[in-house]
Assembly symmetry: C2
Homo-oligomer: 560 residues x 2
């Protein structure tokens, strides 16, 4: 069967990177290798130093990305027993906005001895939250100037995105800003490393850098209004050349061909960079409007396609060519889902449950799921607001915090656990309803990511709460599969790949047989609970009672 062709997808996640080698004809995932980052997420102390980081920092070491390619790609080739000549394409996806300052040669400043002790020289990853003051200021000025781009991002630019992060560096470490030849997304940087080509992708540019096909970036005037030193930030520190998803970035450099065992140059096509969530959409079989993909893990990204640009309250963004070329990609999100349950299990589970889990050889999540599944809808009397990590959509407010209401002395851990699951489901429902109100149809849900595999109760609750059928992507590594699909598209049909992502999706992406369908009697109770959720959501989230912000301000004040 030497005629079989393969593509490799490399997915750069938050704690680790993962390579998967995929059969281009069928989508079969032949081999996988996960490589944990040596330095992981850096939140306390700069590696190899005793330099403590300010609050809300979340950094990474770019050397970990390179090591992932060096280790994981040869590993999947080896494991699959596949010849390099049968690997036609390689695609990558990254967390975003995950950005870094680089020098003229593309070397991240933090890898240079003279900068390694400066936290601002390192990679700021997506969940770095220290640029909130800059984001607030940017939003204020944009509103005052009536900048139209705000509408494309639900009315607010997130502190997680590119320009607040760049501005933070300029404010806190002007010497790093000065020394940076460019700032670049990890998604584009890894492609630059592998191919020698700096070809920035339309997905990160559109969703994270306020870029729009046709109109480009915000004006220099706008940037000057933020800070005169930022006036030419785009020309001086970024690039106006943006490439649509599905494009080929180039071939593998000699250095990386040697390091990976793949072929140098044209025979191994490397696709334009992409974002982990967005690349999962075609991997979940979705290349058309009406079916929303939920990438469910520590957080949820909600992705849906449309044929027209629509303005939706509090969405993360709408980007033409942002997910699938030729369509508008809409993104919304919840910042705390799996993280929520993990927090709960780490902090709030009674001793005897640990013992029971140990005795029965169960994971604690499984035990809680089992106990929570025995509850009737509404039986606990609990209601939560799922804001343990702020609210990404539709309020776009990182200063909102979690709320649990309805506790009594009879409240048990599994009731709280279930209430937290339900709260995240209400969060998804309010996102869906907001899309539909704005004319973006969401008829069915397709789930991928780690949670759907692990928690069937959660999936049923989502179906009951949203009143929609949910299907589940067959792949448990949709990001890496999607990257491999784009790698196959970069190679093109002539080389054994595909000419379009639509074709690739038809053959390489699959759904499981299982379908979650709403249960009418649960739906009826959830409708009542959801109405209460919406009322609390609006009361605490839309400024009627700013207690969460007051408490956060006080917390900051006390800690200072």
């Amino acid at each position: 069967m030497s005629k079989k062709k393969y593509a490799i997808g490399v997915d750069f996640g938050t704690e680790s990177g993962r390579a998967v080698l995929v059969d281009v004809a069928t989508g079969e995932e032949v081999a996988t290798c996960v490589h944990p980052y040596a330095d992981g997420v850096i939140g306390e102390v700069l590696p190899g130093t005793d330099i403590r980081l300010p609050p809300d920092f979340a950094l990474q070491n770019p050397a970990d990305y390179l090591e992932t390619v060096r280790v994981a790609v040869p590993a999947v080739l080896r494991e699959a027993g596949v010849d390099a000549e049968d690997v036609v394409g390689l695609g990558t996806d990254f967390t975003a906005c995950t950005m870094m300052p680089i020098d003229k040669t593309g070397t991240p400043l933090c890898l240079k001895p003279e900068w390694r002790n400066n936290p601002y020289a390192w990679v700021k990853i997506w969940k770095h939250h220290a640029a909130q003051p800059e984001a607030n200021e940017l939003n204020r000025i944009a509103r005052e100037r009536g900048e139209e781009f705000l509408d494309r991002y639900g009315g607010k630019i997130s502190s997680e995105w590119l320009f607040p992060k760049i501005w933070e560096t300029l404010n806190k470490a002007p010497e790093v800003y000065q020394a940076a030849d460019r700032f670049i997304e990890g998604a584009d940087w890894i492609v630059l490393q592998l191919t020698g080509e700096e070809k920035r992708n339309s997905c990160t540019a559109g969703y994270k850098a306020i870029w729009e096909k046709g109109t480009g970036y915000p004006s220099d005037d706008f940037f000057a209004a933020l800070d005169p030193r930022l006036c030419h930030v785009v020309d001086e520190k970024l690039s106006r050349d943006i490439y649509p998803l599905g494009d080929r970035a180039g071939g593998l450099t000699r250095q990386w061909a040697e390091a990976t065992g793949l072929r140098e140059g044209a025979p191994t096509s490397v696709s334009i960079g992409n974002v982990d969530a967005h690349v999962s959409v075609p991997a979940a079989t979705v290349v058309e409007p009406g079916r929303m993909v939920m990438i469910m893990g520590t957080s949820i990204c909600h992705m849906v396609l449309g044929t027209e640009k629509r303005i939706v309250e509090g969405m993360c963004g709408v980007v033409e060519d942002g997910i699938i070329p030729g369509l508008f990609g809409f993104e919304a999100g919840q910042s705390c889902v799996g993280d929520h349950f993990a927090w709960f299990v780490d902090h709030c589970v009674p001793w005897e449950y640990y013992q029971e889990a140990e005795r029965r050889g169960l994971d604690l999540h499984k035990l809680l799921e089992e106990k929570a599944a025995q509850l009737w809808v509404g039986e606990s009397g609990l209601l939560a607001l799922d804001w343990w990590n702020g609210n990404r959509s539709i309020l776009v407010d990182v200063d909102l915090t979690g709320l649990l209401l309805g506790a009594t002395l009879a409240t048990r851990a599994e009731e709280i656990y279930r209430a937290l699951i339900e709260a995240t489901a209400y969060g998804t429902r309010i996102i869906i309803e907001t899309f539909e109100k704005s004319g973006v149809a969401v008829k069915e849900l397709v789930a991928c990511g780690g949670l759907p595999e692990r928690n069937k109760l959660l999936m049923q609750i989502y179906s009951d709460v949203t009143g929609r059928e949910i299907r589940v992507a067959a792949s448990s590594q949709a990001g890496a599969l999607g990257s491999a699909m784009f790698g196959a598209v970069a190679a093109g049909k002539a080389a054994g790949g595909y000419d379009t992502i639509f074709e690739a999706a038809r053959y390489m992406a699959h759904l499981k047989d299982q379908v979650y369908r709403p249960i009418a009697e649960n739906q009826a109770v959830y409708d009542q609970l959801y109405a209460e959720y919406v009322r609390l959501h609006d009361y605490f989230g839309r400024g009627q009672n700013d207690v969460m912000k007051c408490l956060k301000a006080l917390k900051q004040q006390v800690r200072d």
Copy 2:
């Protein structure tokens, strides 16, 4: 030293009874014996049967009260090596409203074979909450009729009190109502058993049975408006003869003299019954206005004296002679304090804390206190409403439920633990402020009960939040000591006791040296947090958002 005289106090608590033998001259507690009730609190199944109880039931077996006297009184005599002839008085105190139906001979119906399978024939203890529908109806009718007594009880009669409990029995088990010769408080029943005298006390009558010195009970008209069958409930099932605290009920019967080893008749004076919380006030040295006693355990009772009747929003009651003869006794309360922390420790503490506690030989509460004490005020960003068991004062609403707000993924168990302590302190502050607004002075706090011994952090937080000095009663068993004091007063000076409770308090009651004083910088932050607490308290507690009730109704609906 055979001239020394002693009094015995017997305190009938929720889970156990306790006798203490006290030196009348000094208040020294010479011997103590705690006797756990064999049947404890009966909430699930009637003892010796498989009869399941309805929700919200909390019963007791009156045989456990008798057994407490039989076991604990001889035990303290033995332990102290004291002659019966040197014991001049015996006082008792009880939880309340803890009530039962009895026959003509004073025998509780549940102790008679023909009634023992009927749950309504048993003792309903204070936290029996199944009479809420009757309480709601009683309050509605009283409001419609403009009954003035409502004002004396903060605007609402609690479902925990006597008439809702009697009415519940009439509604659910008319045969028990019919068969009952009388209904009686445990406090009066135990005195009836010990002395053969039915002398109902002014404390339970005033605080739990809507009785007032001078005006008596509500009118027969009012009871007829509730239910025609209740028209003559007072004359048929209770008594209009009410005796002030400090009175002597009688001497010990032969039967009980034999059972306890004490002397029969006059030589052992038995005082009028009393309530555990109220009897603690003189034991905490308080016999004058201006100093509030907080009996801090699973819940808090707040007691303060005044020279005039004042109407205070949401207080539990104002009763002349209700605490100290000749003064108005004001009572307020929080239904969930120690219970709150116990719930938290049972349900929400992470595994590694259990391990740390075990390793260091610490109680989990101690470990959490230690960790929580290291936090700055306001540092956690958390705020809670202390309504895990409803709100007793000042909202008087058992359908309110707990709320925790401000959680993030970084929230740790000790932060929640501290937030719960703080919430109960805010609850106390709002009670104090409500008293002061109505003209009842609260200048200083005196704490007694189990919590002040165990949790110094809690005491400091209460001082910081309320802005008041807190002293602590020397006795760790203020209820039993107070009963012994009233026992000494029943005996009178001629017999080696005292003529008044004021005298008894001067010699027998003491404070510890330690004083908790507010720390100015903590106070400043707590003032801000308290303002937020009040806002949430009013929003959820005063009808702006009835989500807690909706959830509770839904819970009921789902469970039915």
